[in-house]
Point group: C2
Chain length 278, copies 2
């Protein structure tokens, strides 16, 4: 196998969608089927590289889905030219990847772009069906079935108390030296028949944060907890054993937002300084 | 296991949804996993019967899905009373069935109801994604990926020529003695981004009819055949080897229509006379 020579690199932005059901999450793990490993292997094969490293906007857990995941890779511009450019790369990826992961778009990234640190917001959806007959079988891979009727108004009233810039330590798996301060912009449930969807937007999320928040709200929605309870958990500042992390099945990373091109580099530098352990 | 005594029977209407991917179709087959066998076994267990026979509105093929399938079963009213009525039956079914099939509703059927013969129309949807990157992984079980861009206007122009009461022998797997005359009411493609959906409505469908019609239209949509071709195939009156039956993955039985209660019995008698081989 030929290996591209040392030379100029080009940063590629990849927009990715996947059904997380049969993946052990995004992040590479030895001996497990992960989205990162699957994509990196396909890219390396197509671009004839020993390896390709991807940096991702949202490291989703096992079983979590994505419709609007974003990642980047730095690849040899010579290798890309030999292949025939990004359009040809997209075409080859479509043929090579298994059908539970798709690269929806490949493009040269603008200067200063960093899939992780340049992102200014992430939007997730959490979907629950509270029909007592169970979730629609045609949607069951992305919708959680819930046995009890849920009160969307109560969940929204509880959610509003969590918004703003706060320390979400109570809802997160802690990582040594990393901050758990995030700005939660929106948590809003809407009902369409038996299907409830939470739209959850923040600048970034700590590990387990969306699913912990959703777990709290579901307890309120079915009446096991008072509307005031999620805020009390947040204010407690430590992980509360009564908070059940909602199952991954219902969670989908829908979209990642980036600033205009001229602000990308400054944003990436600022986020890196705040969120990287010293 | 107790067996319900001989006595009055009650006809139940069951509204059913399933993901057909892992079923060998609706109809019972020895040694295969079918929707009918799965439902009949669950009903028999819950109602403590040796067996329960289901009659269905649309016998879907292997891999075909349903959101609005309808079937009926005649069960002992004593057995149902002992269980606690239809609500309790629905509850037990929800707990017992695998998550790729759901009974959305169970109710005592009105007099004269017959899931198959009283139906006055069936509505199917066929879904295709013509994004060159492939179908959305989160929808891939119910959406066919298509490599070539499809022209919805051309498909609609071709489809309109197939509407009305006609002999659909050219599009059907023949069954000895059974008529292939059907009334095709609507075939209409709509596009939403890269997702094309055909809405297909007829009084009833012969075997392979929807997928053969869709296969013809896809050939027109990608420009391999002229707009006039599907009508020419229909007029030919015999199966045409150029017609490719579209894959089951994209097909979903969405809804079955019945007349008002007072017309049920008359409709069932009329349909039975026309569609049953002598």
């Amino acid at each position: 196998m030929a290996v591209a020579g040392v030379g100029e690199t080009v940063r590629l932005r990849l927009d990715v969608a996947y059904d997380g059901t049969d993946f052990s999450g995004w992040a590479s793990q030895p001996g497990r089927r992960t989205v990162q490993d699957t994509l990196e292997a396909a890219l390396a094969t197509i671009l004839r590289l020993r390896e390709t490293r991807l940096t991702v906007a949202g490291r989703t857990d096992a079983g979590v889905h994505a419709r609007g995941q974003v990642c980047h890779a730095d690849v040899s511009s010579t290798g890309l030219d030999v292949l025939g450019g990004t359009e040809q790369l997209a075409h080859r990826l479509a043929r090579m990847l298994p059908d539970d992961v798709r690269v929806r778009r490949v493009a040269a990234a603008p200067d200063g772009f960093d899939a992780r640190f340049a992102a200014i917001w992430r939007r997730y959806a959490y979907r629950v069906c509270d029909d007592s007959a169970g979730a629609d079988p045609l949607q069951r891979r992305v919708v959680l079935g819930w046995r009890h009727r849920l009160d969307a108004d109560a969940m929204n009233a509880a959610a509003v108390e969590l918004l703003g810039e706060r320390d979400f330590a109570a809802f997160c798996k802690q990582r040594e030296g990393a901050t758990t301060i995030r700005t939660l912009r929106e948590v809003r449930w809407t009902r369409d028949g038996d299907l409830l969807t939470a739209r959850v937007v923040a600048d970034a999320f700590c590990h387990h944060m969306v699913r912990s928040v959703v777990g709290c709200l579901l307890a309120v929605g079915e009446g096991r907890q008072q509307v005031e309870w999620p805020r009390a958990v947040l204010d407690g500042g430590v992980r509360d054993p009564r908070v059940v992390v909602a199952p991954p099945r219902g969670l989908t990373l829908e979209e990642v937002g980036y600033p205009p091109a001229e602000q990308l580099a400054a944003r990436a530098a600022a986020a890196r300084a705040v969120r990287t352990p010293p």
